[in-house]
């Protein structure tokens, strides 16, 4: 697979500095503190993987960045623009720079595969129908599903659906791509195809990626940085060689040996 992404996603942060920045972000559900005064930032073009036991707050970070939930405290900035706190109108603008792929795909079952990819570019970005379809067909070609244009998502396998969902997110040309356990709902034999596609995208584009995953080999391959979460805090962070090879924290070592 070759990817023509010369015009796609050359992130140029409008104010310099990191593309994604969280400052003192807290999120609670009732008495349960999911994120506890979290600080971290991601530079443009970097691939960051979030690992850690379930319930440690990884997915909540992605959901905050996608504005699917709101922080109780703290500020979140994307590409130099406030996401939280900000008016809903501002947020809508910033949101266009962010794409997300979900664990359960969440394709629109009432639309063809092609419409799934053209709906938002046409109605949100104002592309012409022809332009959007051209872009959609290129992306479907990239994910190896060019022949499925006219099918309904329900007729595809889980792995195929997830590849369509990845293409759908990319069709918006986001600067940041959020991947939320994208292979967790797949049958084991379908996982490799999706991960290979993501490896390919990570290698051949400049898109910034935040990735929650339990696939440690995949995390090692694509990550510039790995963040180990525990109880709503970052326990430790570093390049994959360090986190997977020689972590400082005993807790990290335990977690990694448990999932590998």
């Amino acid at each position: 697979m070759s990817v023509d992404t010369t015009e796609q996603s050359v992130p140029t942060p409008s104010s310099g500095g990191p593309l994604v920045r969280l400052e003192q972000v807290s999120k609670r559900f009732g008495d349960n503190t999911v994120l506890d005064r979290l600080d971290f930032s991601v530079d443009a073009g970097k691939h960051v993987t979030l690992i850690g036991p379930s319930g440690s707050g990884k997915t909540t970070i992605l959901r905050l960045l996608m504005t699917l939930t709101e922080p109780d405290e703290g500020t979140i900035t994307v590409d130099g623009e406030r996401l939280f706190p900000a008016s809903e109108k501002r947020r809508r603008e910033v949101r266009k720079k962010i794409g997300m792929v979900f664990q359960q795909f969440n394709l629109f079952p009432n639309m063809s595969v092609l419409r799934n990819l053209t709906e938002a570019p046409v109605s949100v970005l104002g592309l012409s129908k022809d332009e959007a379809e051209h872009r959609a067909r290129e992306l479907l070609d990239l994910v190896g599903l060019a022949d499925k244009c006219d099918m309904r998502p329900g007729a595809l396998s889980g792995g195929q659906q997830q590849r369509v969902a990845i293409a759908r997110a990319l069709a918006m040309r986001p600067k940041v791509l959020l991947l939320d356990e994208v292979t967790s709902a797949l049958d084991p034999e379908l996982v490799a195809g999706v991960l290979d596609l993501l490896r390919d995208i990570a290698r051949s584009t400049d898109i910034t990626m935040l990735c929650v995953t339990h696939e440690m080999n995949f995390a090692r391959d694509i990550s510039d940085q790995v963040l180990m979460f525990d109880s709503g805090r970052i326990l430790e962070s570093g390049p994959p060689e360090k986190i997977f090879g020689d972590p400082e924290q005993e807790r990290t070592r335990e977690f990694i040996s448990a999932v590998l």
Partner: protein
Amino acid sequence: MNWDWNAVSDFMPHFWDGLLVTLEALALGSLISFALGLVWALLMRVPTRWVRWPVGAVTEFVRNTPLLVQLFFLFYVLPEWGVTMSALTTGVVAIGVHYSTYTMQVYRAGIEAVPVGQWEAATALSLSVRRTWTAVILPQAVRRVVPALGNYVIAMLKDTPLLMVITVLEMLGQARLYSQQTFRFTEPLTVIGVAFILVSVLASLLLRTLERRLVR
């Protein structure tokens, strides 16, 4: 009891007139209830309670008062306020509005049955509120509720004889008129009874076809 085929053929011209009126009331009443019910269901999701409250109160009131009373009210009271409609129009409006308070609950259930992931995907793609509803949520919600809406079409059909009390000559009205003039009851009532069954069976078949096309 004696059965007179001559009475049947005698009644048939009146029957066709009545059938036409019944079908007209049913079709228009259904359209009004489908459209208005959707409007109510959407208004009940508006964030401000200054919209939800009055809509909730009015629809609750309409749903919990008898259609017969509403028919009398529209037919005899509205003209006093200067609103005059023909008897059939009054009947169609009454049936449509009355049943819209039921279909709104069908739509509500259909909307709530759309998985939350669909809303999240719409947000992730930055779809506008309008686009989220028209392109993603409603097509999926409506598809789910066609069978339930179909049940209300049958219920409406069975309520059309009520229109007789406001002088609309639908099937029962025609039968009664014929009986009063000829003192024959068996034939006209039997004919319209059979007709009600046939219409409801046909309506069910029609809806099932629609359902199958939508569920594809």
